[in-house]
Symmetry: C2
Subunit: 227 residues, 2 copies
Amino acid sequence: MNNVAIIGGTGPQGKGLAQRLAMAGISVILGSRDAQKAQACADELIANLKEKNGTEADIMGLSMEDATKAAADLVILSVPYSGHDDTLTTLAPLLVGKTLVDIVVPLAPGNPKAVQMPEEGSVTEAAQALLGEAIPVVGALHNVSAVTLNDLSRPINCDILVCGNDLAAKKRVMALIDTMGTKAYNAGLAESARCIEALTPILIRLNISKEVPFSHAGVRICPPEGH
Amino acid sequence: MNNVAIIGGTGPQGKGLAQRLAMAGISVILGSRDAQKAQACADELIANLKEKNGTEADIMGLSMEDATKAAADLVILSVPYSGHDDTLTTLAPLLVGKTLVDIVVPLAPGNPKAVQMPEEGSVTEAAQALLGEAIPVVGALHNVSAVTLNDLSRPINCDILVCGNDLAAKKRVMALIDTMGTKAYNAGLAESARCIEALTPILIRLNISKEVPFSHAGVRICPPEGH
């Protein structure tokens, strides 16, 4: 795994992922509609990683199209849900031979405590339908908060549920996630994204409520006590 | 909370719950189609709790109808999904003034690694539609394995996500769950059951696979490290 592209890489989730991956020694290419903005963001993250962590990060910024082309295999899609389908339609021809990692959660407009699923059942399934079965889509990283990702002083606090119809692609994504020092689990076919994407607003609800003593909840798969 | 009825209480999930609740000092009424079978099961659980745990348990067995009538408030429904709607239709008139706690997961026939959701979106929502809004339905306890519940030598290893449209009813169920020494979280409206029920086959998949070093996975809501 020499590099990874993050489309929508200048948003909070993308920036957090970029930094975690760069800390693991992976070359990161941020893709944005505005290539200059992407490069400025890359420069900012490089400086931040140097200052906070002593990391010599390899991050660059390009247009979404050039970032996709530059990816050896994995292209992470991290755009707001409202731009999901249009972005993918634009990038589809450039994704041939690569793997799409879809991390987009279809939060309901104006209500982050609910999802509004596309008619395909989930964003992961919608992306797979849009791209066709020849381009594997892997759903992952939906349940880790941007705040957690960007707080470089702490390890990632949760596990990552990974789903998709192409087992080999899933394993490559799980290997990528492992490099960030967190645990990825194979959560089954793309259909599992109906559950996994919908977990995010449940966690957001807990974060917003005063019911939990912390503000960036995640989930962990847990064994029986004593195991 | 003086008592709780468990309909389908002679199955593995029901027996485990009955024992955990009895250990917390709650009177449990097992409801089964066969009242004699229910009473035999109650006797078995009382003896087991005495032997394993030194607990003087208050458990009795009745017909499903009599168990529902005997419940002060909470009636837990723990039947196979195939019998869910018929059982509820029978019990509906007896549930007026009480709260249904639906723990049923709609596993796909012949495939415990997938769900087959009813057209209402989830079993919890289907139950609420069937009973009408006057009888509150709370979805809970979907993700804790029967093996975990029945292994009285260990505490319950996971958190419990609770959902439903009636906040007061949800709080009563969360208080019940707290008595078992585990943590219940308010996961939002009944619609959240689309996620929570679908988590179960994901956990079953992990249990069946050799990818995890344990066999009865649950989920925990986790805070950032160091919190």
